[in-house]
């Protein structure tokens, strides 16, 4: 029996102890009409070898591509040691450290992680993780509204990832919070400061993305200042790798900093599991959602670590809790702590600079193709927007046939950007990858220019 250790003798002895004849008798409190439904739709069990073959076949179906999409999930090199340590049974198969004395490994690691995130964001304190970047932003919005002196309006720029904006709306919907869009300037792809200054209402918070969804570097200091002048809190939504080289939220006076932790050691994995992080000013810590680890002492005065500020949490405060979150993303945080230790500040800054250099090379090469144009001017981090002279979906499909995942089409979310795509080249892309992309895109674009579209469809 898979994963069940009972021998025939064990079962007999245990049934005797329970004073029943069959295991089924132990279910006799369940109404008969509800019992023993068959489940013919579930296949017979397989051996480990058979499942291994099945999964390898599925993995082979998907193959390998040269990827140029970022858009909230970034392909970075993850040191070999990271997941070898994270999948040690002692980390992989433990749970939320309710028994602190038997969980000092996880707890000390989380305390170190909180320190690392606070340092990276230049903020005072960090929590032990939330689910992902989008849900972390939603939690930050709820937190800002709790901290606000009465406003339930939050300014959410159009330069924030469209899926993040969707998730925020889903999660805050039932709490009478108004999410107000802020437009962007068409030439720069940056938050429209003029529009921002013109709002007259009271706002609980402004979300400042850095870099923004288009890869552009916002003027975070000015945006934060504008928010403060309106009495609103500042929520920084940032890429943690970028924060080694760009001014972090603490330097622009943010009250809350959140983001997607994936670039710190989580593989792409079709979208998860990743982790969300949340940092804030110490004064706001009692409104923070999620687990927080504190250092304390034991009976002998020796220092140790434990879950703290639990009076905010659902298992104590129930319907008055700061969030319903219970299980978070512990294992991804374990990987992140090891990842950050192996790279250090200098290693991570090198990653950031390499991503920037590669993206610059990519934008220059693709932008040199006739008819392909950069949509926004100004400083960027490791992504950029290009307008194609051909239908974006068609070009991307043609690239897939050459083993290249060329970018994310923006038209569906930003109709005004038409046939534009968002591209990214992290440190994992080589000059050869970038050249290969450029040559293929050039061929696709020029072929399309020479042949009318109907001929393409007919071929």
């Amino acid at each position: 029996m898979p994963f069940i250790p009972h021998t025939r003798d064990d079962i007999a002895a245990m049934l005797k102890e329970c004073n029943v004849a069959r295991i089924d008798d132990l279910f006799d409190e369940i109404p008969v009409s509800l019992r023993a439904q068959d489940t013919p739709g579930i296949p017979e069990g397989l051996t480990e070898m058979e499942v291994g073959r099945l999964m390898q076949d599925r993995a082979d179906t998907d193959g390998r591509f040269i990827n140029f999409i970022g858009a909230g999930a970034y392909e970075h090199h993850i040191p070999a040691a990271v997941w070898q340590i994270a999948t040690r049974g002692e980390f992989y198969t433990s749970y939320t450290p309710y028994q602190a004395e038997a969980s000092q490994g996880t707890l000390q690691l989380l305390y170190e992680f909180q320190t690392m995130m606070a340092e990276l964001m230049a903020m005072e304190v960090a929590n032990a993780s939330l689910y992902d970047g989008a849900s972390a932003l939603a939690e930050a919005v709820l937190m800002a509204v709790r901290l606000s002196k009465g406003s339930r309006r939050v300014l959410l720029p159009a330069t924030v990832h469209p899926r993040y904006r969707d998730a925020v709306r889903t999660i805050v919907r039932a709490q009478a919070i108004e999410i107000v869009d802020v437009p962007y300037v068409s030439g720069t792809g940056l938050v429209d400061q003029h529009a921002l200054s013109s709002y007259r209402d009271d706002f609980a918070a402004l979300v400042v993305p850095q870099p923004n969804f288009f890869g552009m570097i916002e003027d975070a200091h000015t945006l934060a200042g504008l928010a403060r002048s309106k009495g609103a809190l500042v929520i920084g939504l940032v890429n943690p790798v970028a924060m080694t080289v760009l001014a972090p939220p603490g330097e622009w006076g943010a009250d809350i900093a959140v983001g997607e932790g994936q670039p710190l050691g989580s593989p792409l994995s079709s979208g998860g599991p990743y982790f969300g992080f949340l940092c804030c000013k110490k004064a706001h810590v009692r409104q923070m959602p999620g687990r927080v680890i504190g250092r304390t002492v034991d009976l002998d005065g020796r220092s140790g670590y434990t879950l703290t500020l639990q009076a905010r949490e659902q298992h104590i405060r129930r319907s008055k809790a700061t969030s319903n979150i219970c299980t978070n993303q512990g294992l991804l945080v374990t990987a992140a702590a090891v990842h950050l230790s192996l790279l250090g500040a200098e290693g991570l800054a090198r990653v950031a600079r390499a991503c920037h250099a590669n993206t610059r090379m990519l934008l220059e090469m693709l932008g040199a193709i006739k008819g392909v144009d950069r949509v926004f001017s100004g400083p960027f981090f490791h992504e950029g927007v290009l307008r194609l002279p051909v239908p974006a979906e068609e070009a991307l499909r043609a690239l897939v046939a050459h083993g290249i995942i060329g970018g994310l089409p923006l038209g569906p979310d930003y109709p005004e950007l038409g046939e534009s795509i968002l591209v990214c080249a992290t440190e994992t892309r080589t000059a050869a990858d970038i050249t290969q992309y450029g040559e293929n895109l050039e061929r696709i674009v020029s072929r399309r220019r020479l042949d009318p579209p109907c001929a393409v469809r007919g071929s």
Binding site: F3, I4, H6, M14, N19, I23, Q37, T39, G41, I42, E44, G45, E48, V51, G52, R64, N67, A81, I85, R88, G89, F91, Y92, S94, E101, L109, Y111, E112, A122, E124, Y131, A134, S135, A167, I171, A174, T244, A247, S269, S270, G271, G272, P273, G304, Y305, T308, L309, H315, R317, N324, T327, G330, L331, T334, V338, L342, L343, G347, R353, P379
Partner: protein
């Protein structure tokens, strides 16, 4: 006093200029096209250590943990069963790990096929009409479920339903979720047999009732015997019935929530489907619904069409409660659950509930014979049961907390303590199906030893644990004198 080598933080091992050189890329061009005003002024103080120091530090830290792989971990309501290594090995095949979430669906038919089959398996084993894999943990599944209940009532113009009912024994996530969804929470008491108090439930329902959130078996470790009557009371009042799947391991393949009349359920795949708990996540909390809630399921949802598998979004599902994450939920966790389900198969899935129940009943009876009080002695255990140490506390002063800490010294992770709150000095014990009779017998022996120590030397137990990396920690101090991060020691100022 400087910390001993074994107690050092990674930051205390740090030396300026030391690093793992081969992990970072080679140096590239400086950022001369980014304005200095937007650049970072001071570098973050991250550790500067060699690869060996990092590996040794975190390996040593891991050794300070109890885990399923190292210890019996009967943490009630958490289903700490064996996490098969194959699930991890196959979910970490490079093609799965390297696939970008926004890559076109046609480049991911392998992984999407696994997820789709998981979705179908979950429908079958729960008896629900449709499943969405989107929620990233149990509590997010709860959120999705209650948000769907709200969307359902609103879609019918039934806007006077402002209350969600929860039993007083419910997990804290239930009332917290209901509040997040804008509902007033009303608690329903438990009767002397451990069932929800049907009379009080009848009195509580009305046109204000949006729904009831129920865990069955309940957190008290007993099956809700009046479930059919409960279902009728709630539905007759126009409310919907929510199934909290935290305890699904107790009935997997034996009873289906859909057949009990539940309208919406969430499943904790990190419990029932044995994906790891990872020191506190990641989880996965898929939701299943009856036909009437189907239009409201969270997106993205996976569908199979003539061109293969693809994600449905708001455009395809206009009544959806919406999106809960940036991408498509915790795919890597879902893959592990899929692999687990394929290893178990139909027969294996039935056996989960059977052997989880056998182990819990055996352990309950052995502990009762050893002199411990079971909170509901006239009931069968389900996959877990509650022990009350009230008598021990009265006789010796030794609390459930003291017993829990002493169990750590004996090499066992403690059961869940002080939950559910309505059982005084409570231990909630869940052995799971993957533990052997020998291990259960050893746990009984340890409990007997602790009880006799409590009678002989109660003061000693108050000081437990003695053999772990730290003695009992001061939680009050942790909350009063907040120390949430490391700071470098201040440099002595020269006058």
């Amino acid at each position: 006093m400087p910390p001993s080598n074994n107690d050092m933080l990674i930051f205390e091992r740090s030396r300026p200029g030391r690093r793992g050189f081969s992990q970072a890329p080679k140096e590239s061009a400086p950022l001369d096209d980014i304005p200095v005003s937007q650049q970072r002024r001071t570098a973050p103080r991250l550790p500067e250590v060699s690869e060996l120091e990092a590996v040794r530090h975190y390996t040593r830290l891991s050794q300070k943990n109890f885990s399923i792989d190292t210890h019996f971990y009967p943490l009630g309501s958490c289903t700490m069963k064996y996490n098969p290594r194959a699930c991890n090995a196959f979910a970490m095949l490079p093609s799965f790990l390297n696939r970008h979430p926004s890559a076109p669906a046609e480049t991911g038919q392998g992984v999407l096929g696994c997820l789709f089959e998981l979705q179908e398996l979950l429908k079958e084993v729960t008896g629900m009409k449709e499943v969405s894999l989107a929620p990233m943990a149990g509590a997010q599944g709860e959120f999705a479920g209650v948000a769907m209940i709200r969307a359902y009532h609103q879609s019918r113009g039934d806007i006077g339903r402002t209350e969600i009912l929860v039993p007083d024994a419910a997990h804290g996530t239930n009332p917290a979720t209901a509040a997040m969804c804008g509902y007033v929470v009303r608690e329903i008491p438990t009767d002397s047999a451990g069932n929800i108090d049907l009379k009080k439930l009848k009195a509580a329902v009305g046109p204000q009732t949006a729904g009831l959130m129920l865990t069955n078996p309940s957190t008290l470790g007993v099956f809700e015997q009046d479930i059919e009557a409960v279902q009728k009371v709630v539905h007759d009042a126009g409310g919907l019935l929510y199934y909290d799947g935290a305890n699904l391991n107790a009935i997997l393949g034996k009873v289906r929530p859909g057949d009990m009349g539940f309208d919406v359920i969430h499943m904790n795949l990190h419990k029932t489907f044995s994906t790891p708990h990872g020191g506190g996540g990641p989880g996965a909390g898929p939701v299943g619904v009856s036909a009437r809630l189907l239009p409201f399921l969270p997106v993205p949802r996976l569908a199979r069409g003539p061109d293969g598998y693809r994600w449905l979004t708001e455009k395809d599902c206009p009544q959806s409660i919406g999106r809960l994450s940036a991408h498509a939920g915790n795919t890597g966790v879902l893959l592990r659950a899929y692999i687990y389900a394929r290893l178990l198969g139909r027969e294996g899935m039935h056996r989960v509930a059977e052997f989880a129940t056998l182990n819990a009943n055996y352990l309950m009876i052995r502990l009762r014979r050893a002199g411990f009080d079971v909170a509901y002695p006239n009931r069968r255990a389900t996959h877990e049961f509650t022990v009350t140490l009230r008598r021990l506390k009265e006789e010796t002063g030794v609390s459930a907390m003291d017993v829990a800490k002493r169990l750590l010294d004996k090499g066992f992770h403690a059961p869940t303590t002080y939950f559910p709150l309505l059982v005084p000095e409570c231990l909630l014990v869940e052995p799971t199906e993957t533990e052997s009779k020998d291990e259960l017998d050893r746990f009984v022996t340890a409990m007997e030893e602790v009880a006799s120590e409590a009678r002989r030397d109660p003061q000693m137990l108050k000081g437990a644990p003695y053999t772990l990396p730290v003695r009992r920690l001061d939680d009050v101090r942790a909350a009063r004198e907040l120390d949430l991060r490391w700071f470098p020691a201040p440099v002595a100022e020269t006058p």
